[in-house]
Amino acid sequence: MWDYTDKVLELFYNPKNQGVIEATNEPGVKVATGDVGSISCGDALRLHLKVEVATDKILDARFQTFGCTSAIASSSALTEMIKGLTLDEALKVTNKEIADYLGGLPEAKMHCSVMGQEALEAAIYNYRGIPRVAHDDDDEGTLVCTCFGISENKIRRVV
């Protein structure tokens, strides 16, 4: 059994910010989404951001996750962490910070938090219309889930 912290379990059982942000016609506001993973590898995350165009501020963040406990809790944590930040500030959020927010993740489950950080990047790049270069993998290194390994190749493919 994975040794999950109380914080992980709390956000898993009662996730915050789940769901979609519908595209809007509100003036000065734009909605962007970012996807990582795919159903074939067993982990996937779609992140929705609502951004105030003038200030680059994240007004709202929501997620949809197909994945394990850590994936759901990480997504929930990420959306909590980035609300109110500017996009540049949000880009600095690392998967380690997500894990720290959760009080830690089991070593073998660290990749589940990487997913959150990657989805965020994808959403921001989408928002800015920048094509993303696949970067050669995560800093946390040693234990990458094999399903995530597959998703590395397919990672920029929209599910």
């Binding site: 379990l9 898993f12 059982y13 996730p15 789940q18 769901g19 979609v20 996807d35 159903i39 074939s40 067993g42 982990d43 996937a44 995350l45 779609r46 997620f63 949809q64 996750t65 197909f66 994945g67 394990c68 406990t69 994936a71 759901i72 073998a108 889930c145 094999t146 399903c147 599910v159």
Partner: protein, 387 residues
């Protein structure tokens, strides 16, 4: 610590029957001698061990002398495979299937790296092998066919005697991993084609740390664990007397309860399965509808992930297990479900419920009442459902 739960994970391990514990206790407390000793205090245990051997033999329809006590199912599988290869030193080919337990599969993989040729039979969508593929694979070079009686994840049963008849034509040895079949299916070694059969105590309400290997009389057997003369030279190491006594008692109880327990489990399992299929959209049974253990159902819930389902069940005190091996420290989805060619949509969201003779109707109703909500909640989080 959590003491009570709705335990529907009996293919993983089972509760030790209180009668089994009672039978063992004197051998833990008072009769601690060594059965190989000259003195009465130790030597008297040889008789108790022999009674237990009879009880186990009775469950399998075997003779006492064909039973070798081991420490677990894994040891039995390892020992049987090694022994078969030593019995056929001139043959270098093994046949097994893609859906075996790691205790067989990983031994075969290691043997491949040592120069053996291994055929891994495929299975169809319902988890069944193709007898034609088996026949086409058998040659005069086949030392061993090792297949499971029933699959631990799906409960799917292989047609063991039909397989065995073909194996015998080629003079190969036939080992059957019956860890999940013992106590759940009627077995009779006297009329069987099986040469060696593995069982494990903790799957039939005996304690962990004890198992048995059936070795047909006349089959050349060389031990995996080498040392003293215990078990008539077929398994060295001081006998685990309390464990053996426990296994004997558990075997007796399995035989006693067999008819009534399997009938009850099947009825409860069917009620669980049919109700879940009827009340939850987008789910299906993994495995064969009838060629299946009476206590097992493995259901794939599309668009959601197994571990997440399990943790929600856990909150309700319901113990089940996931087809996905995220459970066991490896993060790959189940090799069994992959071999069955399950679509990705269900591969990651499959849950096994496995019942036992202690399972009650109320427990099943509780699962039936919470599952739809759990699935709905998780699907509401999933990005796929709406696609």
């Amino acid at each position: 610590m959590q003491k009570n739960c709705i335990y529907l994970d009996n293919n993983a391990t089972t509760k030790v029957d209180p009668e089994v514990i009672e039978a063992m206790l004197p051998y833990l407390r008072d009769f601690y001698g060594n059965p190989s000793s000259m003195h009465t205090f130790g030597g008297q245990l040889a008789k108790a061990v022999s009674t237990a051997r009879k009880q186990v033999a009775a469950l399998l329809g075997a003779e006492d002398s064909e039973i070798v006590f081991t420490s677990c199912g894994t040891e039995g599988d390892n020992a049987a495979i090694r022994a078969a290869l030593l019995a056929h030193p001139d043959r270098r080919h093994i046949i097994t299937s893609q859906v075996e337990h790691p205790a067989v599969l990983n031994v075969c993989k290691q043997l491949e790296s040592q120069g053996y040729q291994v055929t891994y039979l495929s299975v169809n969508h319902q988890g069944q092998i193709d007898l034609n593929e088996l026949e086409a694979s058998l040659t005069g070079n086949t030392a061993l066919v090792t297949l499971m009686y029933a699959n631990n994840e799906t409960g799917v049963i292989f047609p063991i005697e039909e397989i065995g008849a073909r194996v015998k034509e080629y003079g190969a040895l036939f080992h059957v991993d019956a860890v999940q079949a013992v106590g759940k299916l009627p077995l009779n070694m006297k009329t069987s084609t099986i040469d060696m059969l593995t069982m494990s105590g903790h799957k039939i309400h005996a304690p962990k740390g004890i198992g048995a290997l059936y070795v047909r009389r006349g089959v050349r057997f060389r031990p995996l664990l080498i040392g003293g003369h215990q078990e008539r030279g077929r398994r060295a190491g001081t006998e685990n007397v309390p464990g053996i006594i426990g296994l004997g008692k558990a075997a007796e109880l399995e035989l006693l309860h067999f008819e009534e327990a399997t009938k009850r489990e099947r009825k409860l399992r069917d009620r669980l399965e049919q109700t879940l299929l009827a009340t939850i959209p987008d789910c299906e049974v993994n495995g064969h509808p009838t060629q299946r253990l009476p206590n097992t159902t493995n259901i794939g819930f599309k668009y959601i992930e197994g571990e997440a389902i399990l943790l929600h069940l856990n909150k309700y005190g319901i113990c089940a297990s996931s087809g996905s091996a995220c459970t066991s420290g490896s993060l790959e989805p189940s090799h069994v479900l992959r071999a069955m060619g399950l679509p990705y949509t269900t591969l990651h969201g499959s849950i096994r419920f496995s019942l036992c003779r202690y399972t009650t109707e109320a427990e099943i109703e509780q699962v039936i009442s919470v599952m739809p909500g759990i699935v709905e909640h998780l699907r509401s989080l999933s990005p796929f459902k709406s696609d």
